[in-house]
Amino acid sequence: MNGSNIKVKNVNKIFDDFYALNDVNIDIKAGEFYSLLGPSGCGKTTILRMIGGFDEPSDGIIYLDNTNLLELPPNKRPVNTIFQSYALFPHLNVYENIAFPLRLKKYSEQEIKEKVQKNLSLVKLEEHIYKMPSQLSGGQKQRIAIARALVNQPKVLLLDEPLSALDAQLRQHMLLELDSIHDEVGITFIFVTHDQQEALSVSDRIAVMNEGRVLQIGSPFEIYETPADKFVANFIGETNFIKGKVTEVMDKYAKISSENVGDIYVYLDKKVEKGSTVHVTVRPEKIRITKEKPQNLPETFNLFRGKANKLIYKGFQTNFFVDVNEKFTFKVLKQHARYILDEGIINWYEDVYIWWNVDDGFIVEVEQNEG
């Protein structure tokens, strides 16, 4: 493995009495594609800048393998950054931009040439070698920035929202490219983003952050399928939150009575006591919607009758907003296979049935102040 592991240990960043980072602990394995995901201002970029050496923690330590990174100035760290603005040097052409770190290390002209060409071919931009940064498109600048950051053969590559300035299509493309570059060079990537799709699609693991805290660390599907709390559930993808009181606790399931929805059964992934108030989450794509009363229901399910008050047809799928008891609106997502032929077309304001498997709904938060 060419990469190094990074250990962020009990790191705090305090401005006056505001905690920009609050006891952050992150353990990144060598060679991992690791994402820091969270809304703007959650502290993810601050962590990246600390690893890069442009910010210092108020307390705590950051290790790279077994060395304390904080003792090294930025230019001595085996870590390189892809900046959000690319930060290509405008007075140097593509060749000289990539050669910059090599010239500092006093490589011979021949070695520089070889390394620059090797890295340019990695990002597939050989033909632009003598262009100035101002002559390149956003995506090309991005790739040159990647080539320049990799030419030093860092142990860890830090990516600070590298795709945010690109348009949607290019972003998808660059994302795949980043992934293949990661496979090729085999070093540790730390990827900062606020875009959950980006994080889910390329990461080995994701740390979800909010307000300076790490809320959950896990693989993309762990984060999506079993969010640790209400914030994570809401931030990663869409979901339905149902608030209710626990009325019955069984060995695998619990019965919850909600003012708006009625009685529902949920999977018991957290210990709850009878009488406590809980928040339940059900992902929209886990809820099935039919016009007729559904047949072949599983053993355990929640079934409701509702009204499809709003629907957004997107071709490959439809988003339904289904009112239950005129009090609660369920977001339901239906993926279409043979919409017109097999699936009964549902129109606006039609009465529908919605149901989901009990295992697909679970408790994300238990309110504390209940007696």
């Binding site: 890069g52 050496g53 442009f54 100035p73 930025p74 230019n75 870590v79 390189n80 950054t81 900046f83 603005s85 930060a87 040097f89 405008p90 007075h91 140097l92 052409n93 910059f100 770190p101 500092l104 290390k105 100035m132 320049r148 950051a149 030093n152």
Partner: protein
């Protein structure tokens, strides 16, 4: 088709001439004509009551060959170059600090405030600071650090000091303008890629603000080289500069052709200086 093309191209030419006409008149009347007059005067015979006799003569240039004028030329270059160097060494960090400060507009005000007082008054104020009865001498005498006055005025160093003081704002402003636009994440990128602090400044910051540095150099060097008032007030006969000699020959010396010839010399050296600075800039662009 051809006709309309011809017309449109012709109309463009007409508009260009029309729009540049005021500028052309301005430059012709106030720059080319006076320059031509100076050139003409320098090739004429001097009139002993001032002015010139309209007779061709090379006497002015023969006078100019005198080694005394060569010394003055060297002294002028020395003062102008030293003033430019010190001004720039002060202006760069000041402009950098201003551009990165939270109090940009306040600091800008501080730079501009001296312009509210007349230039000559500010130069005379230096006599009150540096003179034998000035603040510094008085202070040192009263505190007992010195027993006698220190003569600080009337030498090249005093002239350079006041030049630096006078032209510092002119050097700071273009530098400030370009540093403010500079993307400082580039310096972080340089550090990230292995550059030390000074390497990031010399390899990234300086090349990217080069045009501002050259503007500052010109804004300082040109007025310093042709200066008259500062060596006249702060200096004496040992700190002669071309500007003071021109004034002297034009007034008490009553040698207009010589004054004109010196003016031509001054203009020539300035033009050469400007060409050197700006051609360097062109070379940079070529390398790019």
């Amino acid at each position: 088709m051809t006709v309309s093309l011809w017309r449109s191209s012709r109309m463009k030419v007409n508009y260009g001439t029309k729009y540049s006409l005021p500028m052309l008149i301005w430059l012709t009347l106030l720059f080319i004509v006076p320059s031509a007059i100076i050139i003409m005067f320098s090739f004429m015979e001097k009139n002993q009551y001032g002015g010139v006799n309209p007779v061709f003569s090379l006497q002015a240039f023969k006078d100019l060959m005198n080694s005394a004028y060569f010394k003055i030329l060297l002294n002028t270059i020395y003062i102008a170059v030293m003033s430019t160097i010190f001004t720039l060494l002060l202006a760069l960090p000041s402009a950098y600090y201003m551009a990165r400060s939270k109090y940009k507009s306040f600091l800008m005000l501080l730079i501009i405030i001296p312009f509210w007082t007349n230039f000559l008054i500010r130069v005379y104020a230096w006599i009150a600071v540096l003179g034998n009865n000035g603040f510094i001498n008085q202070f040192l005498l009263k505190t007992g650090l010195i027993k006698d006055y220190i003569g600080m005025l009337y030498n090249n160093n005093a002239v350079i000091l006041v030049m630096v003081y006078t032209y510092l704002p002119y050097a700071i402003l273009p530098l400030y303008a370009i540093i403010e636009k500079f993307d400082f994440s580039l310096l972080e990128a340089a550090r990230d890629l292995g550059a030390s602090k000074s390497q990031s400044v010399f390899r990234i910051l300086i090349p990217n603000i080069k045009s501002g540095i050259i503007t500052s150099l010109l804004f300082t060097f040109i007025p310093a080289f042709g200066n008259y008032a500062i060596p006249q007030i702060i200096g004496d006969k040992n700190t002669n500069m071309l500007g003071t000699v021109i004034a002297r020959e034009l007034t008490t010396g009553r040698n207009w052709p010589l004054a004109s010839a010196i003016s031509m010399l001054l203009t020539l050296v300035t033009v050469i200086g400007v060409l050197v600075f700006t051609s360097k800039q062109k070379n940079i662009k070529k390398v790019i």
